[in-house]
Symmetry: D2
Subunit: 339 residues, 4 copies
């Protein structure tokens, strides 16, 4: 890979800064030409690294040297910027979710296809070493046909209620990662979803028709059954585990900790709290994720997480919302056709 | 505990032999006076230990020295023998399930209450050191209010199809233990059940309206959500795990192995298969279970697993059957009232 | 194995009672004919099981039905009873150490050989499932040529000083098990020993020329290097671990706990204390050990732990004592020849 | 920390490149002004990052903007460059070992002290999250007085014989890290060392008076006993573990793996190989190490690994060499005074 991919970043919030640093320091195949943020205060890290900055996202897309645009703007801008970039013949890396409505996602997908550019979505967890290993064991047949896939995904603390109002709810904000993970691990499409959920941590969240605790059952086209358990608050910290059980065996990934020291005293053994939250837990995943994007563009490989993946994660999330509201299993085609 | 409880055993099949040995050699507070089995061949171990034998179960119940009857006969005889023993003022330890129909269970419960005797059901897994520890951590408030309880329960191999025909199906034959475990761990009643299941291991089982793979969601009166995953065939062996997640923390019990040796070579680390099946895995649990029965009778304590526990496990199993058939969540009261 | 081995037990202290129960209830190939203890109070359990009792050990040895004698008397009586039993053509199971002096051990060995009976020593740890698994991995070549063998052996609390006075000291009382384990795992003889030790727990023990903390380096004839670390007091309980490292890999056995539950709260993870002490930790090992003795007699197999094993463990212990006293590595032949 | 520390690097080999990247991208408090390497080919990464380059190490030391020199040159140049840098009033970070002879180390120490600059040695393992956690548990009294400290340190493959000739041997090339770790964990000085070692992996190494397998016993001034086990070749990969046992408990750090997935099939459980070698295993440690150096200079804190630490690690290594050669425990003062 001798040529470098010239990138531009839209949005230098928390996740934009991570992608900036990873492109600059951990992705030998990439350069960052320009980065935008409406707040000039966010420009500091980019400037320090010699990256041009602007408050106007359009300048990133239209910059003549930029070959790929990294979209880290708020969700409502994901599709508009993706379409604009595609029309400008720029490849796109876009944070998840692509959108929370099906027609918008489809329009982005069309723009990308029509203009022959790559689109990769930031489902970074696929690149976590634990989860990628489980996927690889499923993929190479080591566990046989998948029968049961289990995802445990718990946050250390609920987001502010202000955020809950606009986030699209638990399913589109948090579980969407788990829906993608379940699809990724089984290598199959979800056909039905059933949710049992409640507001066990903070009842006020019900005012926003949302929940903070859920068990979600997924049915897959290949016969596998999936189950996700979510909580907005695990007092011991971020809990991210996975298990794939099949006809020839089982693979399971445990949670990660900053160290593996066990201390024994007369009360028993004591071990560390988990890595605090997604920035720490998925540090390597964010790096591999960006490597993978640059690699797919430079070497003309298929996008490892494409618009269809974004579409299906959102569709499952919408079906989950209906299941919760109506207390019944919901077929995915019911939602998909409705769009 | 100076006085010894004088017991008689009905049924010397696999499980009867276990209880016999545990009463003889691991339960200092008990004696075995007489044991019955229709097959005289089954009498050998009892005779060797100086226990009187008979082919007639009624003789065990009516034996003047017998104070407590251990019922290990086939399921259809559980309730008749329980009622007969209760009427003879004998305490009863009965293998699970008490019965697969609600009225029969209620009639046994009534006989026991009317005659002032103890009835304990053989939900031995409650006495497993791992699971009892999780229960104790829930019970003492260590994990706070329970939010999510997860039970993994997988057998090493499916039973013969001949057995499946008469077993009452996955829910009443296998999952019934897990229903009881979920109730035990949460300390609360199930109010609703939803099942997603399939015959992924052996499609022939569908002929008997049964399945071999299931994910089951339970709703509890105290707000907790439970999830059980079952498989009739884990190629790596018997898999029995548990997790309780709550407002103050989480407790999880891993599967058990005969040794904890890890071997490392240039391929990675290798560890042992699990303990083969329930006899090995629950060896300690069977012993503690019988201790507990003898203790509750001798010291007039409440039965740790009573007729109500048997009733509820069966009711949840029946509701699960309806959920599977009709593809919808089923309220427990719907089944309970129907009886 | 249709025939039963008829045994007699000398000594019904703590360890004698364990062997009694295991012979009665866990060793189908054995019967217990008679048991002796100087204190009649110790006879209760034997009487309850229908075993004849006596205060005279000679009666056990001379009892016409007794085919094998289980010697659980104090150490100074091990050799005299072994010789007497051998001369009476009885097989012998003897608790360790056979003796703390080389000539006595050799005289027992001679009596056994001359009379064509079996002698097995109670190095029960060889039968622990963890350690037996490591041995089997060494034995079948899975780890290649052994290079380094590590034994961790720590007691939960030091014995009373009264006991230390007469026990033969750390090496002959406690480490002797570890010397045997190291020989067993490597399958090779110790050629040299070096000790660094101190009284770090209770300095009073130095009055008896003893120590309570030690690191011991062993050199083996096959080139392997062994290291044992001992402490008389691990506040977290009994700690028994093992590691064998070789040219093709490594096998390690961790300590055992009564349950494997981990609880996570906002302080971290908490796990159980180890199984309290040797009775709990080596419960299975004691059973397998007795099975093995009965099997070797009934089926005329070589004793799995013979007089030579007892001799070498003691010789290494004596060499360790010299090394500690003189602060230098000591060749085993230096001690062995001296005898 | 508003001010940036201006650094220059001498030597851009493997370790120099790591420090370069960490200073550039992971140490916000530092800048790299200039870097030298005799081979211009090594300059590429520095040039790319806008760092001036030279083939002359003296230019790095004398560069007027450079406040701290990072010495990654071959060992024989460590002391000369350290002295030159100190005389130029530059702070020094120097790779280990500072030197393999005591007088050279002392002369470096004197130069540093006389010129009032900081010297930190690259004992990076002190900054490994696992080991730092064990140190912290010892330091805060959680395990009480340390009694036994165990270090396992095994390489995945022996270095070329060419390297062995000039490396100073196992003790000064490999075990020196472990000597430092043992001192760090106990917080006490080694007073005596005993070595049992052999060439079990490749007998040719004996030609160079070296070994590839060793068990090393350390005695500490505070009474603790240490034991290190080394191998040049663990077929399963790099093995770096630690255990500290004391009067109030025990802390142990296990080896690290790239993922924590366990796969179970009908043969048992399989887990990952360890992180390959020191670059992967100590990635975080190298970063924290450099942070710590920059922090100690900018905020005038004591060097966390100073010349005395380098001196003692080397002295213990020299004593180990004598012990191996003469087959006896060697007092540290015997070596130290000899210098």
């Amino acid at each position: 890979m001798s040529k470098k991919l010239k990138t531009g970043i839209i949005g230098l919030g928390r996740i934009g800064q991570i992608h900036l640093a990873n492109l600059l320091y951990h992705t030998p195949g990439a350069e960052v030409v320009i980065a935008s943020d409406v707040s000039e205060a966010a420009h500091a890290a980019a400037k320090k690294a010699g990256v041009a900055t602007t408050t106007n996202a359009e300048e990133v897309i239209s910059h003549p040297e930029v070959e790929a645009v990294i979209i880290c703007a708020p969700t409502p801008q994901h599709v508009p910027y993706t379409i604009a970039a595609a029309q400008a013949k720029k490849h796109v890396f876009c944070e998840k979710p692509l959108d929370v409505t099906i027609p918008a996602i489809v329009s982005a997908q069309k723009a990308v296809n029509d203009n022959g550019v790559k689109l990769m979505l930031g489902f970074n967890r696929r690149f976590d070493p634990n989860f990628a290993r489980v996927r690889s064991l499923v993929n190479d047949g080591s566990i046989g046909d998948p029968h049961i896939v289990k995802v445990t995904s718990r946050d250390p603390a609920p987001p502010p209620l202000e955020y809950v109002k606009v986030s699209g709810g638990l399913f589109l904000d948090m579980t969407i990662h788990d829906f993608d993970m379940a699809r990724y691990i089984t290598g199959s499409e979800v056909t039905e979803v059933y949710v049992k959920g409640d507001a066990l941590i903070d009842p006020r969240i019900k005012q926003y028709d949302d929940i903070d605790t859920a068990v979600i059952v997924l049915t897959f086209a290949n016969g596998a059954i999936g189950v996700i358990d979510n909580s907005r608050k695990a007092v011991y910290g971020y809990d991210q585990r996975l298990e794939a059980f099949g006809s020839k065996g089982m693979a399971k990934a445990e949670n990660n900790t900053p160290d593996n020291v066990i201390r024994f005293d007369d009360k028993g053994g004591q071990s560390a709290l988990p890595l605090h939250f997604f920035l720490e837990r998925y540090e390597k995943a964010y790096q591999s994720c960006m490597h993978s994007f640059v690699d797919c563009v430079l070497n003309d490989k298929p996008s490892p997480v494409d618009a269809h993946d974004g579409l299906m994660a959102t569709v499952v999330g919408l079906a989950a919302g209906i299941s919760l509201k109506e207390g019944r299993p919901v077929k995915i085609e019911e939602v998909y056709k409705r769009s």
